[in-house]
Symmetry: D2
Subunit: 284 residues, 4 copies
């Protein structure tokens, strides 16, 4: 895959945005390798993502930003331009369960997930060895009822120190403090082991078993201050039957959790997700 710049835009919808942006790109001979638009008629908001071959433009990233800024101002855009060769820094947080963490580590290791993983943080020590096998530093930050403030201060310290721009809760099982959710809004990705909004909170597979559903699912979403209520990026489901115990559901659900999280994170890393009004536009 050759180097590309990703121009991602959200702004009030009106005539001429596409023309202005594509003119700008054509003026500088920019070769567009992928383009997606969406107009949300409810909120009259316009969303756009361009992937442009970096070599085709006479700019470096900063130069491109500078050249584009006047257009962004004219249309009141929320916008960013990212460089496909400047991968995001993703801190993974996990607890005792390995499946989501190992799945992400493997995808990263095999080159299918383009990011840096500066470290893994866990409230337990169980997964240290597999993390370190991947050459990634592992930090054990225990969280007890009585030391939460101190623990999350340490977590924040690690996040800051490693300059993370994305945090993935790979079955972390702890609720982050509201101020962390706020500070990293749109940057913390969680995998919840139910088909939200069904079965919010603890033990969703037990809730699903109790209700007698015939499909179970998993939801990858951005974390907000309200539990399991943030913008949904991706969902997946698997069929179950009366034969399946809670233990079977836990096992079968793991595959859902892994794929929903891996897909959702991939979309995020490629700047394909735009949050608006607690919902997401996902350009795939």
């Amino acid at each position: 895959m050759s180097r590309s710049y990703r121009l991602v835009i959200g702004c009030p919808d009106r005539v001429g945005i596409v023309a202005k942006v594509s003119n700008f790109l054509a003026t500088y001979n920019g070769s567009i390798t992928e383009a997606n638009h969406h107009s949300d008629t409810d909120s009259n908001w316009f969303f756009m993502r361009h992937e442009i071959c970096a070599d085709s433009l006479p700019f470096d990233l900063e130069g491109l930003k500078t050249a584009f800024a006047p257009i962004a101002n004219e249309f009141n855009m929320q916008w960013q331009i990212t460089d496909s060769e400047a991968p995001k820094k993703v801190i993974l947080m996990a607890s005792k369960q390995a499946h989501c963490l190992v799945d992400l580590l493997h995808r990263w290791h095999s080159g299918d997930l383009h990011c840096e993983i500066p470290c893994v943080i866990s409230n337990h020590n169980d997964l240290r060895s597999i993390v370190e096998w991947h050459g990634i530093p592992f930090f054990h930050v225990p969280v007890d009822k009585d030391n939460k403030a101190k623990s999350f201060a340490r977590v924040m310290e690690l996040i800051t120190e490693h300059e993370a721009d994305t945090i993935v809760l790979a079955r972390y099982m702890q609720i982050l403090p509201p101020e962390v959710c706020k500070q990293y809004a749109g940057k913390i990705i969680n995998i919840h082991h139910s088909f939200l909004p069904s079965f919010i909170g603890a033990k969703p597979y037990h809730q699903a078993h109790q209700r007698g559903v015939k499909l179970i699912g998993a939801t990858c979403h951005y974390v907000t201050e309200e539990l399991d209520a943030g913008p949904i990026i991706e969902q997946d489901i698997v069929r179950i039957s009366h034969r399946d115990t809670v233990a079977d559901m836990v096992r079968l659900g793991k595959d859902c959790e892994k794929t929903a999280l891996a897909h959702g994170l991939r979309y995020h890393l490629e700047d394909r997700v735009i949050i608006h009004d607690n919902k997401t536009v996902v350009f795939v």
Copy 2:
């Protein structure tokens, strides 16, 4: 498909049930064409369904019941034996939306749904013509805020008169009175246009759009007194995206609703569903 008897059993689990039942069948040279068992370890309850080639047994239906009754008593069974050539009498209830009703009528017409449909009842007249094309009587029973008691008395009269043993709410859009739900417990099948327990009640597609889910679904369930809370028979889902408006979701959801309802009803008609503790065992 040759004629078969269906022996369906639920009882407290203990050693020897299968042996007793299969001995009974073997004693009379009964040829089993399908057999399913399930032990629910939570409730210590045992479920079993046999399909037996009718011609292989020296009994008619009543004779078989008489011969089997002592075994049923010995094991405290809830049981029934049905005859595949005595199809259930199914009253379909609809409102203005045609898709579920037409789908069921077509499956019945083409021989894929083995039942009798003595009549269709609707609170609107819109679907009269397509129902009558199928040679099925159509009864228009309007339901207004102020005449509900009278309307549902008329509905009950029609149900009784036509000796219905199953009632299907094919997007009927009215809530049946509690006493009807109670009287026909386990015999009224509804299709709800969401992936329950998400989005109970009115306008589930609007609720789904509001929440920004990435999959929508439909749920086929038995009706109980509590709204959208009865035992689930079947669920189906379809993937959506940010591009889909509520109108798109309504359209896409129709296919889910049709298949979930058609499958659920088929299982019911073939005596494959056993209700226990507000959940279902579905032997497919």
Copy 3:
């Protein structure tokens, strides 16, 4: 849904196409409601579809075509502009099996399929009544081994007479003559009851049963002179098990066939499908 013009383009890829087209639209104040692009790097071909609010432009359809033609010439475009309020004329062809035909008729009747259906042609008379109930003329054109030329001449006559621009083989079960396939290239849509390229030709469910597959499928594709080898528009699958006989597979496959055909046809009617090199780009 308000009236829109659909501008669909395929041309050799180069810098500036999007800019030129979106400038053109912006110049005339055209409001884009949906836009899709695709660059195929293998063939260096560019695909684009715009949906533009008709009222926002100062043109009628012919005026728009005239104004756009110079741009089309400059970029060697294969292009068309269609009007969402000039629905395509679709002739449905069927045989004895009702499910696909009835499904399409119902979707059309309920307003979910935007087209005109000037007539239905069948080599059997079985489905006359349900077609005529929909107010659509039904033509019975028998096809015997010995009268094929004459039969298909009559079919062609009906197609011409009714000015059909799309022909749907809704389980028609006859192979069209090569000259018809050629003349209506990209306009004849077939539903094949297998997951192509598996099980080409006759009795695919028997072939699938023989091979012991665990999933069966259906394929909606454009008809070409080579049997079951034309560009694929849409595919769908359903899970089966060792319990399913060929008869079960036929029944279960019907739902796949219906949805694959309905979706594929919808994409075609909305000018979302572009054929290139025996493959399709489908903008959904």
Copy 4:
């Protein structure tokens, strides 16, 4: 999960098999935790699997076999009884691609795959480190065009030495010699990266891209002497679009390959698969 014996039977179908077997179990007070039957009417063959709580029977495994043998003889059964606490010995064979191997290793490591893995054999050295991290011996047996006989002799030696009863080709990319296929019939499980019988042989994703399919898949099957033609255990698919390059298909297909192989292997390990006439009965 408590210890269980698994009694798996295939025999000519006739009245009285179930009665005989369940009587036998009831006589010894055996508690059946799961039972499955299937009658194949085409071949008049009967299939049955019982899972019996080991503690409820007065036998050890050999005792149970001895006690059951007369019944097996009477009905000409092909049969086996296995002990859930005597896990199969599974040799994994891989090449350079890690995804299937790592997925199986992780499932094994986390306790979701009940087997022993005495060693991994690969024709490349790339995956040694991750295998050894799991504490499993890794054997590098290079295979060149000119040394095949010698290489496979070494492979056979390792298989024999480690007393493997199952061999899994986790994207091994080499074709086993016919005599190995014959000797280990029903014991070698392969994952093929297409939806068989589509795209047999090399580079199936390239073939799929060339054909323009809209779904790609993976097939888990037993290896026979004929390439990619053995009994199918499990298949899975994923939706693709015109946007997906061969590289995208390779990436997306990996998830299909992993789940199809993991599910198929699990069924095999739990003795849920019975081969008959180049097809499988899978009791799940």
